[in-house]
Each structure stands twice: as C-alpha cells, then as structure tokens.
C-alpha cells in the first residue's frame, strides 16, 4: 500500500482508538507472564519466581479441570445451537405475519430481555423456579413433586441454556429479519404464479436465501465455544451444582479474586484466550470461504 499525504488525517482519526487499544488491551498483556510465575503480590511481576509451566501442569492434573472444560463447552455449544436455530425459526414465523404493527411490537418485546443484566434476570429466574414459584406451581398442578431446579444437576445446565436463548433470541431475530427484507419480492411473486404454497415458499426461497447469514453467524460464534457466560452462571449457581455448572470463568474468578491464586487464574485465562483465538481464526477462515465474509 502506498502512503498518500492526503490520507494523513484519516490515520490521525484512528489514533485515539489505537491508543485505547494499546493502553487497555496490549500493554496489560504483559501480565500474561504471571501464568508462568508463582506470583506474589509482595514481589510483583518483576521479582516473583518463575515456575515455567507448573501452573499449566497443575491445571491438567486437577480432577476438576475436565469437569470445568466439559461444562464450559457443553453449555456454550448448546447455547450457540439454540441461539442459531431459535431466532431463525422465529424470524421466519414473524415474517409470515401480515399485521405490520403487531410484527414490530413482537419484535421489540422479544428484543427487550437482551438489555437486562443477568443480575436482575437471575433474581427473576430464582423466584420462578423456587418450590413455590411459577414453574413448580405448574408441576404441582399436574400432580408432580416440586423440584428445586437450581440445585439439581440434571436441570441446571438446561436452565442456563434455555434462559440464555430466551434472553438473546430477540437479538438474533433482528439479524435474520434484516436478511429477510433483503430477499427480492419478485422471487415470491414468481413462486406464487407457479402455484407454490406458503410452506413451499419458505422451503424453496426463504431458507436457501438465509443460508449465507446462517453460516456467517454460525462460524462467527465458534469463537465463543469457551464462553459459557460468566454473569449468568455466577448469579445462578451454588456449590450443589458445581458438578454441572462450574465453568472456566467462574473457576478463574474464585481462584483469582477470592483465593488470590493469580498465577493459576492467569494460566487458565491464558489457555482460554489461546484456544478462543485459534477458534476465531478457524471460524474467520470458514466464514470467508463459505459466506464470503471479510474483515480486511
């Protein structure tokens, strides 16, 4: 690329953003060295003893590591799947609606939970799932025994996944709806003339034309395979469901902030970042190949 004098001001405009990135994202990366140290606050980064890969070794020896990684991936993968298919279905259904005002209304309402924090939502979920809560009222009405959902290892991941999908599907719906408006109406008109029913229109026009968007979203979400959602789990879990609900982020939180095991916490965090980084590269390559998505 050739340097052009008349572009200098564009580069100047980039500066503040770059500066923020350097100060808050790049410089702190130096802290990664803590993952290879027996970090002591009193000694600091400069004088804490180096212990090589011992933190990582310990991490793999932990009987818990398997559980934590399994939980993280299990929860994250099902959240990704849910967040791909539910909005897709919902967007198609919504698109079939005739009443414009009602459509907009529904669209806005399902979008709202996206803006609520898990601190608030978790309170609502806890209330709903207590033994006197709404859900258990229904269970009791059908003659079942009330279940403490949040203390049950069978139910806990399901609650995490379903509540996350419920919270986020409105957001995904908007992306699909945007893609739907981009479909040329002439295609539908032609199909109608050929005698296609509405299900057939969906099957042969809507779905195929949504595939690129779907692939794009799917590949981009691969980078999230290790993000099972700290806020949500942290606000909902308890020691009884560590077995099915403890994820990497909550573990790092407990190790690092509560027990001051900065070295170990950094090691776990670093490993997560490295894996996520690799996954992002993979997903970007896939996205550019299959969905023609390019950043540069």
């Amino acid at each position: 690329m050739k340097f052009r004098a008349n572009q200098v001001h564009y580069h100047m405009m980039l500066l503040p953003g770059l500066l923020l990135l350097v100060v808050f994202s790049i410089i702190p990366m130096a802290g990664i060295v803590m993952a290879f140290q027996d970090f002591k606050i009193g000694l600091g980064i400069w004088r804490s003893p180096w212990i090589g890969l011992q933190n990582f070794k310990y991490l793999f020896e932990l009987s818990d590591s398997r559980v934590i990684f399994y939980n993280t991936i299990f929860i994250a993968v099902f959240k990704i799947i849910g967040n791909l298919f539910v909005p897709l279905t919902f967007a198609i259904l919504l698109n079939e609606l005739r009443g414009r005002i009602f459509k907009r209304f529904v669209q806005t309402v399902v979008y709202l939970p996206h803006f609520l924090s898990w601190v608030i939502l978790s309170g609502i979920i806890v209330e709903m799932t207590t033994t006197d809560g709404l859900v258990n009222q229904v269970v009791k009405a059908f003659g079942g025994e009330p279940i403490i959902f949040l203390a049950s290892n069978q139910w806990f991941p399901f609650i995490l996944i379903s509540s996350d999908v419920w919270k986020e599907f409105g957001f995904g719906t908007i992306i699909y709806l945007a893609a739907l408006t981009g479909i040329n109406p002439a295609l539908y008109e032609a199909a109608v003339i050929d005698g296609a029913s509405r299900p057939q229109q969906i099957r042969y026009i809507t779905l195929p034309l949504l595939v690129p968007t779907f692939i794009l979203l799917a590949t981009l979400s691969i980078g999230n395979v290790l993000n099972a959602g700290f806020d949500q789990v942290f606000n909902l879990y308890n020691p009884l469901v560590y077995e099915s609900g403890d994820i990497i982020d909550t573990y790092v939180y407990r190790a690092g902030l509560i027990n001051a095991q900065f070295g170990l916490a950094t090691a776990v965090g670093l490993m997560k970042s490295v894996i996520s980084f690799l996954l992002i590269i993979v997903s970007y390559t896939l996205a550019s190949r299959f969905a023609n998505y390019r950043i540069f």
Binding site: D38, G42, G44, Q54, P239, L240, D246, N259
Partner: protein, 564 residues
C-alpha cells in the same frame, strides 16, 4: 454478595465504634484513678513547656515527615479549607508528636486496595502503611520492611504493652518472624467471632417452647416453627433454620444465616487450622467432629428443619424480614440488619442465645487477634516514629504528661471525623470492647453510673434507647444499636469454655496454587452431604482426596512456617 457488603459495613461500623472507645477508656480510667482533668491538663502544660527530650514516649525530638497512603470513604465532608492531608487532626498530631503525615495518595474502597497492591508490586512504598497478614509476610520475605524489635522494646509505653498483654500478646506473635518484630499489629475486637442463635421469642412463647440451649433444642424449635404455624396465618408457609447459598460456616468474622453455631456445638471448627494434642496441624474441615455436624445437618435438612432451598437463597434476610423465618445464626450486631424485620412487624421479638455442646460447654472460634499490620519501609530513618505514634494513639487515660487528653480533644477535634482523619487509623482496642460497652450502657440505664461518664457514642445509644422505650420499635434506627449492645453484647459476657484460634492465617506456597481447588471440593462435598444425596460416609473419601490433592503438602508447609 449482599451479605458480604453488609459484613464489610458492620466491620467498618465496629471500627467507628472502637474509635470512640478510645475516649471511653480514658474517661473511665481518669475518674477511677481520681486524676482530675485540671491536674492532667496542667501536667501536659508543663510537658509542652519543657523542652521535648529523648525520653518523651509520645513526641519526636525533631519534627519528622512521614509519608502514608490513605483509604477514605467516598463522600467525606471536611471542614472548609481542610484536606485529607492538611486538617485539624494533622495539626493536632503534629503539635503533640512532632510528626507530620504526608499523604502520598488516597483512594476509596477497592481502588485503594488495587492501588496499594500496585505500589507494593512496584516497590513504591510509603514510609509507613497498613497491610494484611499475607502481604505482611511477603513484604518481610522480600526484605521490604524494617525490623522494629529494638524500637518496640525501647519506646513502647506500658499502656501499649498492657493492651497487647490483654490480647495475650497474640498480635505481637503474629507480627514476629524469625524472632524479629516486623510490624506493629493492631488488636482485633473478638466479639465478632461468636455465632449466636437469634430466635423469635414471641413465636417461642406462643408455641410454649423453652429457650434453646442445645442443638437438639434448635431442632425442636425449627420443627415447631415449620409445623405449628407460629405466625398464626393458618398457612403452612413458615420455615425452620435459615441458611444461605454461599457459606455453611464462617471461620473468622462470623457471618449471618450460616450454621457456624451448630458446628461449634459439635466442637467442630471448619475452615480453621487447628493444632491437635500432639502439636500437629489439622484442617478443621477434615475432623470427625465436622463429619458429625454434617450428619446432624443432613438429618435436619432431610426432616425439613432447615430451609429446603437454603442453597439458592441469595438474600436469606428476606425470609427473616417477611416473617417467614424465626430462627437463624448470626453475630452480636445482628439487630442492625433486623431493623427491617421490626419495621415490618413490631411484634417480632428477637432474642439471641448461645448454643452449648453435648457436655454443656460453650465453644467458639476466634477472629485472628490481629488483622492489620503497620509496617515501616526499609531504609526509613525514624522507625521509632511509628512506635511513638501508637504510644500517643493509645495514651488516652494514662494521665502521663504529653498523653492524649479527652477534654482537650473534645474541644479541638471533630469526633465524627476521627476514623477518617486520624492518621494510620485502625482497630486498636481491648479484645472485649463490646462487652465493656454493654456494661457501660447497662449501668447507665440502671442508674449506676452518671450519664456524664458515658462516651459520646454510648450517650447516643442511651438516648436512642430512651426514645425507643417511649415508643417501642417505632424507629429501627433507635432500636438497633442499643438493642445490639444490650442483648447481643450482653450475651458476650458469657465466658466461653473453649476459644479456638486459627493456628495459621497467611498463605503458603502450595496453598496459593491449590487452595481454590481444595475449597471447591470441600464446598461441593459439604453441600451435597447436607442437601444432596451424598451419604455422610463420603466425608471420609473427601478427607482422603483432600490430603492427596495438596492438603498434606500444605499442612507440612504450615508446620514449617510455624516452626519459624
């Protein structure tokens, strides 16, 4: 989280209270010894008139400047023209001790902690600062702080030595490494360790139940509270013993809504490092007594005597305040949070009880005798200034020339700002300060001591209680504090038969790597034994795993540390 915030608030509160206790000691002592204020004032006059000599335990011969850092509250209101560094407290201290504190920087709450950690990490230390035990030990290890042994021996006053003595010199032991004293440790108020059962007395009376003494009584009461409709609304909506979703027990400052009191009644001290009869270190959560407690808790849970959903209760206080629960464990200061309960229901009559073990003995763990360590930066020229500063800080009531004088301070200092502006402020009080304050308030209410002898703080509580007596429970603010001192504080008069201190309160090398995992394992197993379907005998497997996964190694390290 809320609970923790509240705890922090209350600790802050005790700090405030103990600040005021300084003056109280002064007054009591002064009147007992019969030293008239005029006498001590004139004595002081001569002291400041005479040339400050090397022997003066409170004053530096030459003015010195000491840099410190300061944690402040967010919306601190200072008198016009004053700052965190330059204010009437600073002037007063400088005049009395010849020490001028220079505040390098100040910050609030977590920011302060973060900044301090950074400062330590980059070895950019103030001349004197306050740190916790783990930081203290690593500072000593890093050779960043001065050895204070000779300065303490040479300069500390009898009063300071007496106060450490009342605390059995335990704080000094904590601050001593390899026979050298590296810090002036604070003295904790021990009242915050004891876990009491707080019970709705009105419910007990209604169901004709006796006051609880043992764990079985607690079970009986819990059963009755669940089954016999104590609130009389003809609905099966009350629960027994309250628990919370984070901790089953506390091992330092006693929390609310946990089962600490029951553990203690089984002579079990989970979370603490104990020494057995052979001097071997044992982790309290791995003892047979702890197993027995878990078995009892499991039985109670299975019988519905403990809140079925305690493991998902983030805000157990809601159950208490809404009148759904009338039985839980908490510390002496519980009436503060109970203010909301009496606001909702004036008939709620909360009473605290201590629970005995099967031999009729009262056991408790104790908060560490010291939690704050005042350290002097390596290379600072006047380490004795710290000792003199503390001499002066604790000198009220001694009547020695140059000591703090209550009458003068009342005139010159704004008492409300004491813990905000007094340099290097920390809890430095008799370990039994709360019981002492209980006595003072009680005696004043019984008319045994004249009101003039009350400290400003206790006079405030006295007035509040008078207002509350006229219009009972109308204003939670009038009820909480005096009630806490009269009832919670009163119970602290009970002599504990067994007081268990944590044998080790810092962190070892292996702990810093493996503790999170061990703690997680413990929590998971304990919660599952009580409320899940793990059999009690899985406890033995837990102990084995715990030892294998680093516990044994940590114990060896702790024993080595304790040898030092």
């Amino acid at each position: 989280m809320r609970k923790r915030k509240m705890l922090a608030g209350v600790i802050a509160l005790t700090l405030v209270l103990s600040a005021c206790a300084k003056n109280e000691g002064n007054e009591g002592k002064a009147s007992n010894s019969g030293a008239s204020p005029t006498a001590s004032q004139s004595a002081e006059g001569t002291a400041s008139a005479s040339k400050a000599s090397e022997e003066n335990p409170f004053k530096m011969a030459e003015p010195v400047e000491i840099s410190i850092i300061k944690s402040v509250v967010p919306d601190l209101q200072l008198p016009a023209g004053e700052s965190i560094e330059n204010n009437h407290y600073a002037d007063y201290i400088a005049e009395k001790t010849n020490i001028r504190f220079k505040v390098l920087w100040y910050a609030t709450g977590d920011d302060y902690t973060q900044k301090q950690k950074l400062a330590i990490a980059s070895n950019d230390l103030p001349d004197i600062m306050t740190v916790d035990e783990t930081t203290f030990r690593s500072l000593v290890e890093g050779g960043q702080v001065e050895d204070l042994t000779e300065y303490y021996n040479k300069y500390a006053t009898d009063k300071v030595k007496e106060m450490y003595g009342v605390a059995n010199n335990l704080p000094l032991e904590k601050a001593t490494i390899d026979g050298k004293l590296y810090a002036m440790p604070n003295i904790s108020v021990l009242a915050d360790s004891i876990s009491m059962a707080w019970v709705r007395q009105d419910w007990l009376d209604k169901l004709k139940l006796p006051a609880p003494k043992t764990v079985d009584d607690i079970a009986t009461i819990a059963k009755a509270f669940v089954e016999q409709d104590p609130d009389g609304n003809n609905k099966n909506d009350t629960i027994g013993l309250v628990g919370n979703n984070v901790d089953l027990y506390s091992f330092a400052y006693t929390g609310s809504y946990d089962f600490t009191g029951i553990f203690h009644a089984f002579d079990s001290y989970p979370g603490l490092w104990l020494k057995d009869e052979n001097g071997k270190v044992v982790y309290g959560s791995t003892t047979q007594e702890t197993k027995q407690t878990l078995a009892k808790l499991k039985e109670m849970y299975n019988n519905g005597l403990i809140d079925k959903e305690f493991m998902i209760r983030k805000e157990p206080s809601q159950l208490v305040n809404s009148g759904k629960a009338g039985l839980f464990f908490g510390p002496w200061w519980t009436p503060w949070p109970l203010g909301d309960s009496i606001k909702v229901d004036k008939t709620a009559d909360w009473k605290p009880y201590l629970i005995q073990d099967s031999q009729g003995k009262y056991n408790t763990h104790m908060v560490p005798p010291t939690t704050q360590f005042l350290v002097v930066k390596k290379g600072f020229k006047h380490p004795e200034a710290l000792v003199k500063h503390i001499n002066f800080y604790l000198s009220s009531g001694t009547g020695v020339s140059g000591a703090r004088d209550k009458a003068e301070e009342e005139q010159r200092l704004d008492n409300k700002l004491f813990q905000h502006l007094y340099p290097l402020y920390t809890t430095f009080d008799y370990p039994d300060a709360v019981a002492r304050k209980h006595d003072m308030l009680k005696n004043a209410l019984d008319g045994q001591i004249p009101l003039e002898e009350l400290t400003p703080e206790m006079k405030g509580h006295y007035d509040r209680w008078q207002r509350d007596l006229q219009n009972p429970k109308a204003e939670p603010g009038d009820w909480s504090a005096p009630y806490a001192y009269l009832y919670g504080g009163g119970l602290l008069k009970q002599k504990m038969d067994k007081e268990v201190y944590n044998a080790f309160t810092a962190t070892t090398k292996t702990m810093s790597q493996k503790w999170a995992n061990l703690l997680k394992m413990e929590k998971e197993v304990f919660f599952k034994i009580i409320a899940g379907n793990k059999p009690v005998d899985d406890f033995d497997k837990f102990v084995e795993d715990w030892k294998k996964q680093g516990g044994d190694q940590i114990i060896a390290e702790i024993e080595a540390e304790l040898q030092k």
